[in-house]
């Protein structure tokens, strides 16, 4: 081979690789050119897995198929966000058309990346005025920078479950409403047993089940980002008060290490060995679905539900809580987007559907009409969560382009704070802000 050809080999190979790579880097693109009245089979992926939940969603699908005889729905349950993410990025015929997520944390990422299709054009086509159907808070957590790529499919509200028998035994007449009452009650309700515990008043450690710091922090009503989108946790006085209260709760009940050791003995959250259900905790932060589980398990004590306490200087906000929920959307790669919209529209905005599904799985309805429906479950514990969901001070997490990455950063930082590894909170929070901003910038084009 003549020598003059040799220098061309590497550039040619690289150019070929580049062409190949740019070809591989284009995931399949869907379309909204389909006729929703023509026969079609939709693939619907969701996260419900408990038998009662699966039965409820299958009933919903059966109702939908009756209303739309030309649309058949192939439903797949117990699917995680990670699986959906991979499937939508890979595309292909096996990828889902309609998807759900059990967290609102990732909505910003879904919208900003275009992974979930923008639903506004579909709503315009079908004359659905979203502001008249869905509460604003819920619309906020299903959109990002004006892109409504998801709609709420039932909401979750967080409140406090408490053991009435334990309260009676400790001489406490009602659930605490302020953080100082919370701390005092937690101390009274804690029962030591040697080096460990028989019962903890309230387990404040952030790794317990649903105790992620953002949920408890919602009681202070923090503002995570400023108008420019920069993280402002170090500038928000509520951040310091939140960590101070968490620290006081820990100290009042024996310290972080002792509580953490007790926590590792707890059973699975979604089983009857759940620490609150087995009597190891007297007060417990959890979502509205727990009530149904408590009833089904017939726990051996009397229990009640109340909103979580609020800071002493914000007593007027009592009744607030952390809100999140399941969201539904259409995959960007779906080639049946108009038919998929019919399913999303039915699941999220049909009042009868929303009410019956909410009753069946004990989740908070996500439309104005369903929230006012007389058919809604009248169980008083469930109604407490409806109150939290409708409280004007209740808080959702703001969407971000990189999904829940800033929540993860806050969680990591909070783990260090509770373990006593952060000696200068202000400095640590400034670094956390810088980190969140750097991560956000890195995720943008």
């Amino acid at each position: 081979m003549p020598r003059w050809r040799i220098p061309l080999r590497a550039p040619m190979a690289l150019a070929a690789a580049g062409l190949l790579l740019s070809g591989c880097a284009n995931p399949s693109v869907g379309s909204a050119d389909d006729d929703p009245t023509k026969p079609v089979t939709l693939k619907f992926w969701h996260g419900w897995s408990a038998p009662g939940e699966v039965k409820a969603i299958n009933n919903s699908i059966a109702r939908f198929e009756k209303l739309h005889p030309n649309i058949r729905v192939e439903s797949t349950g117990n699917v995680t966000d990670a699986t959906i993410n991979q499937a939508l990025r890979a595309g292909g015929d096996e990828a889902p058309d309609v998807v759900t997520s059990f967290t609102t944390n990732n909505v910003g990422q879904y919208c900003d990346s275009g992974m979930w299709a923008d639903l506004d054009p579909f709503m315009r086509k079908s004359g659905l005025d979203k502001s008249k159907v869905f509460p604003k808070t819920l619309l906020d957590y299903t959109s990002y920078e004006g892109d409504q790529c998801a709609l709420p499919l039932l909401a979750d509200a967080y409140g406090m479950y408490y053991n009435k028998d334990a309260f009676k035994e400790a001489g406490i007449s009602r659930p605490p409403r302020t953080m100082s009452e919370f701390e005092a009650d937690a101390r009274k309700l804690t029962k030591r047993a040697g080096n460990s515990y028989r019962r903890v008043g309230f387990m404040p450690n952030f790794r317990l089940y649903q105790n992620s710091p953002d949920r408890l922090f919602a009681q202070w009503g923090p503002t995570y980002f400023d108008a420019k989108g920069d993280s402002r946790l170090a500038k928000d006085p509520s951040t310091y008060k939140f960590f101070d209260t968490a620290h006081k709760l820990v100290e009042a009940q024996g310290g972080y290490n002792a509580l953490e050791r007790f926590r590792t003995s707890f059973g699975d959250e979604m089983s009857t060995q759940n620490a609150f259900m087995s009597g190891k905790l007297a007060m417990h932060l959890d979502g509205e679905w727990r009530g149904l589980m408590m009833n089904e398990a017939k726990v051996g004590f009397d229990w009640g539900v109340a909103p979580l306490p609020v800071p002493d200087d914000q007593a007027e906000t009592y009744g607030r809580g952390y809100l999140t929920g399941t969201v539904a959307g259409i995959a960007h790669s779906s080639r049946h987007q108009n038919a998929a919209w019919e399913l999303v529209k039915f699941l999220t905005s049909d009042t009868d559907q929303v009410v019956s599904f909410a009753n069946a799985i004990h989740n908070v309805p996500s439309t104005f009409a369903a929230l006012k429906s007389p058919k809604l479950d009248a169980d008083p514990t469930f109604r407490t969560f409806l109150g939290i969901a409708q409280n004007k001070y209740s808080q959702v997490m703001p969407p971000s382009t990189n999904g829940g990455m800033y929540v993860t950063s806050l969680q990591d930082f909070s783990y260090s704070v509770e373990a006593g590894k952060v000696h200068d909170l202000k400095k640590g929070l400034r670094e956390l802000d810088r980190q969140i901003d750097a991560d956000t910038l890195q995720s943008k084009s």
Binding site: N78, V79, R261
Partner: protein, 311 residues
């Protein structure tokens, strides 16, 4: 038209034909992924939209702004040094012991090899259960003899040693390799050494060790490469020990507790497939690749030196 080829061209084609399975495998599973990784390390790419060229931004992000990169790299290197060294020492010791056993050798070989057959996830789950600080049998036994057991997988100082213990439990693969090497050492050399008055240590130092050096080097090199990719056990142990519920909407945060079990491969997965930050994930992969290559080359040169010295 008949194609006429000269003899050298025909020879070259034949050679290429024989080489083609390797060439295809090499191109598809090594060259292409490597070129792709380099390419995407300079791109902003979320696996949905088209990649955008961003220069060195991903590299700067990893080295200057990613706080988890340092702990992940430290943990990976810690595991490489401690786990590989202990695995080689433990595997060799076990091999030496078992080759000496005259009665019931088959039983012991099977007993020590069996744990290696346990699927990594199942083995890890069992270990987390055994080492549970509050309810695990290990701490209960320790308590009976007056020792307060550590928090094992729940303590940042003990989590990595716990993973090392888990890997030593599944040492069966190395044990078998060392046994084969040890049984292959010519018996005449031992007899000659004995005639020269060599004791047990001298026999090991001057007969056994030179004979098994290539196998030790093989164990070290493959151990380093495997440990550089350490992922499943650390992820599973952290996830289960943390007790944090993993539901359809939740994301597994690797590294529990306090990032003490976070390894670079876990960070690659987290960046690439949870945050869809493909560029940063590619940078991390390339750093890992570079370190693995450097360590392997160093070890190979060391091995060449040893072999040359023996000659």
């Amino acid at each position: 038209m008949a194609l006429t080829l000269s003899n050298p061209a025909r020879r070259r084609l034949r050679t290429l034909g024989f080489l083609s399975p390797w060439l295809i495998g090499f191109s598809a599973f090594f060259a292409y992924p490597l070129i792709a990784t380099v390419y995407f390390s300079f791109m902003h790419y979320n696996q949905i939209q088209k990649p955008d060229f961003v220069g060195l931004r991903n590299w700067k992000y990893v080295f200057e702004q990613m706080p988890l990169f340092g702990p992940a790299l430290w943990n990976t290197l810690w595991l490489v040094v401690v786990m590989v060294a202990l695995r080689v020492v433990f595997g060799l010791s076990l091999g030496l012991l078992i080759t000496k056993i005259k009665t019931g050798a088959g039983f012991f070989r099977t007993a020590f090899y069996l744990p290696y057959l346990a699927p990594p996830v199942a083995a890890t789950v069992a270990f987390v259960f055994l080492l549970n600080p509050s309810t695990g049998p290990v701490n209960e036994v320790l308590a009976h003899v007056g020792i307060t057991g550590p928090n094992w997988f729940n303590d940042a100082n003990w989590a990595k040693p716990s993973l090392v213990m888990l890997s030593l439990w599944g040492i069966g693969d190395l044990m078998v390799i060392f046994m084969a090497a040890l049984l292959d050492v010519p018996k005449e050399q031992y007899e000659a050494a004995e005639l020269d008055g060599a004791g047990a240590w001298s026999k090991f130092r001057y007969v056994t060790w030179p004979s098994i050096t290539p196998i030790v080097m093989f164990a070290v090199v493959t151990g380093v490469v495997q440990t550089m990719q350490y992922y499943t056990q650390a992820l599973v142990a952290g996830k289960i020990a943390s007790g944090v519920s993993i539901g359809p909407g939740s994301v597994i945060q690797p590294g529990y507790p306090d990032h003490s079990t976070l390894t670079v491969p876990q960070l690659v997965y987290s960046m690439g497939f949870q945050n869809f930050n493909t560029g940063a994930a590619c940078v991390l992969s390339l750093v890992l690749f570079a370190i693995a290559m450097a360590v392997t080359m160093l070890l190979m040169r060391k091995r060449s030196g040893l072999l040359a010295a023996e000659d």
